[in-house]
């Protein structure tokens, strides 16, 4: 081979390499995980992040979604709003698909990302947290908050209390205290509770607790003085553990103390030991690892040493929420692929997938999660789906939560009016003309 031939061959090889490389590099479905495995809130963040990661690993082990692999891009936020926004900026354009959806995992981060992600045309799924009025898809086309919102949680707790009191008419004159994290998250249920208080005649007592909530003596002294009939809690991190211990110390009955779902994980009750027995919290997924999917994760993911955490923690409350977030993502992507007839979906297509999501009980059965969560059907005017909540109770001896109630519907008369009012105010403030995409 003379020099001219060699040079021609080399040049051809150089030109062809990127073409081959592009062809060989398969399309991937990018999904970031804005998780927090460090800092004061890590005990709550780790199980969720592990559940989400393990479910996506399982999907990839089984060939991906319709044959397309999922690319998980973790970014540590430390549950810090500023860092969360930086994480979003870092991962949003991740190749090849860009971020198909963002799970901010914090109400504060969600509030910051709503305008940014809407402008970047990336859907947000704030699952059971974030801005409640995002239920209205005509105003918030890029934000989804199914399967339930904080306002649904508050409404369901009042319904549960009404049922336990012998009927909603028996709520008249009762006193319900709200112990809440003094942040955007903690303040979410206030309007709902006040509206329901006006409707049913009960009094609402507000008790804010500042971050981090390590010292709550004054709060619980006020509970002791005012003697509310029920205490609701919107707490997070150490605030939950301290509140449950303080409630036990003043002998407040645990069967009249209900936490929102973010105040209802094993990490919240274990430090209180036996005193936490009977503590109640809201739930939108079943607890425990007794589902066929958990067995499959243990076998396929942990069997191959690819688990994100420890096998014996599969099935914790937070872990199961991570799983269901993964399932919702999978089904939204499948739906997007069907709608747009392509496997190389973009964030805008996945938004359409989320908005047309129809996750039936039959499909949950097929996935290996029978009676694990409520079926979900999303539409433009309902980004929150079923909006049903069950009550779970902590068994301190068995060290596990059990669902003890039916799935309650939200109070639509109250919450829908508040959603319409709040979303209309947001639309006006931001010059948005409400319309379905």
């Amino acid at each position: 081979m003379n020099f001219k031939k060699l040079a021609t061959f080399a040049a051809a090889a150089i030109i062809a390499t990127p073409l081959f490389a592009t062809g060989a590099k398969a399309y991937e479905l990018v999904v970031p995980s804005l998780d927090y495995r460090t800092g004061p809130y890590a005990p709550s963040g780790i199980p969720y992040a592990n559940g989400f990661a393990d479910y996506l690993t399982l999907l990839n082990e089984k060939g991906g979604i319709e044959g397309v692999k999922v690319k998980l891009v973790p970014c540590e936020t430390g549950y810090n709003t500023k860092v969360g926004v930086e994480c979003y900026e870092k991962v949003k354009d991740e190749a090849p698909s860009r971020s198909l959806v963002v799970h901010p995992l914090s109400t504060g981060i969600t509030y910051q990302l709503i305008p940014k992600a809407s402008s970047d045309q990336i859907p947000i799924h704030s699952m059971g947290y974030g801005r409640t009025s995002a239920v209205n898809g005509a105003v918030f086309p890029w934000v989804f908050n199914f399967p339930a919102t904080y306002w649904d949680g508050a409404a369901v707790f009042v319904k549960y209390i009404g049922e336990k009191s012998g009927g909603m008419d028996k709520l008249k004159g009762k006193k319900i205290a709200l112990v809440y994290h003094n942040s955007a998250y903690g303040k979410e249920p206030i309007r709902t509770l006040e509206s329901m208080g006006a409707k049913y005649g009960f009094n609402v007592m507000l008790l804010p607790v500042d971050h981090p909530g390590q010292e709550q003596k004054a709060t619980w002294l006020q509970v002791r003085r005012e003697k509310p009939d029920w205490v609701l809690m919107w707490g997070w991190g150490v605030m939950n553990q301290v509140a449950i211990k303080e409630a036990a110390s003043i002998r407040f009955p645990m069967d009249r103390f209900i936490g929102i779902w973010w105040s209802g994980s094993e990490q919240d009750v274990l430090p209180a030991g036996d005193d936490a027995h009977g503590y109640l919290s809201g739930a939108f997924t079943a607890p425990g690892d007794g589902f066929p999917l958990h067995a499959e994760i243990k076998k396929v993911v942990y069997g191959a040493n690819k688990g994100a955490g420890e096998a014996d923690r599969v099935g914790e409350v937070g872990y199961n929420r991570g799983i269901i977030a993964g399932v919702y993502f999978e089904e939204a992507v499948r739906t997007a692929m069907k709608i747009h007839k392509t496997k190389e979906v973009t964030p805008a297509m996945v938004r359409d997938g989320y908005e047309s999501l129809n996750l039936t009980e039959a499909r949950l059965n097929e996935i290996g999660l029978p009676n694990f969560a409520q079926p979900v059907q999303i539409s433009c005017d309902n980004h929150a789906g079923p909006r049903k909540v069950a009550i779970q109770r902590w068994d301190a001896k068995a060290k596990k939560f059990d669902i003890i109630s039916k799935w309650y519907d939200t109070d639509r008369e109250i919450t829908d009016a508040l959603i319409a009012e709040d979303s209309a105010a947001y639309a006006k403030e931001n010059n948005i003309t409400p319309k379905c995409m």
Binding site: T38, P40, E215, A218, R224, V238, V242
Partner: protein, 307 residues
Amino acid sequence: MLFLAETVISGLMAGVMYALVALGFVLIFKASGIFNFAQGVMCLFAALALFDFISPGGFMDRWFGFYLPIWLGVIATMGVMIILAWMIERFVLRFLVNQDAIILFMATIGLAYFLEGAGDIMFGSDVKPLDIGIPQGAVDFLLDDYGLYIEKLEIVAAVTATVLVIVLAIFFQKTRVGRALRAVADDHQAALSVGISLHSIWVVVWSVAGIVALVAGIMWGSKSGVQFSLSLIALKALPVLILGGFTSVPGAIIGGLIIGVGEKLAEVYVGPFVGGAIENWFAYVLALVFLVFRPQGLFGEKIIERV
């Protein structure tokens, strides 16, 4: 009236818990002029190490197949804090002798981040329910017979703090090492010129502060479980230090009590009229009001510098 008494007693008890953290700050500041930003993280680190020594699945269990009884675990953790003090002196402070206070302060900020990260890697981020036998819950007979709510844990903390202050007072006033510590605090170079080893003194004082951190870590860990938010309890100690003075052990205690009672009364009686959650910032307001009248704190040394 009973409720007011309850609020005051709860405030006093909470104040003792703050004072336990503040004591560690005072010890190091008194002996070396360093404001140790890492004191809160040292409480966390000590509690994490103790939990690991005495729990199944911890360091001892993994490496030697058994875990330590509580008393031995406490001693082992003291050993860890002494080794940590030696390492801090050897690898951080030794290179910063005679540097400005702000340089030393910044070094302790780095130390705080390092210890927090190391604790995370070594012990994990989970909440660890620490049970070393300290009684929990309300004192039953007071609650049942007199309707008075006082927590057992806080009584134990009050007794522990009293013992700790007596021991520290004896240590500072009556022992050779204590006198040497005070000499170093007054003037590094003068202390060196009379043959006091600055390096040894720093190891001693950081060891003592580490042991005080262990006591505070045990109390706060028993209250809320050992978790990374424990490092934030340093924020509760700051107003105590401002009020009590950075160089006074009794000041830390008295300051803690005033802050504890003040913030509880404010939260319970003023909070409902201004939206609540005022106790955190009220503690700082209270401390700042004291500063107007006594800039050196209640018991701090008045520093007069001639120009």
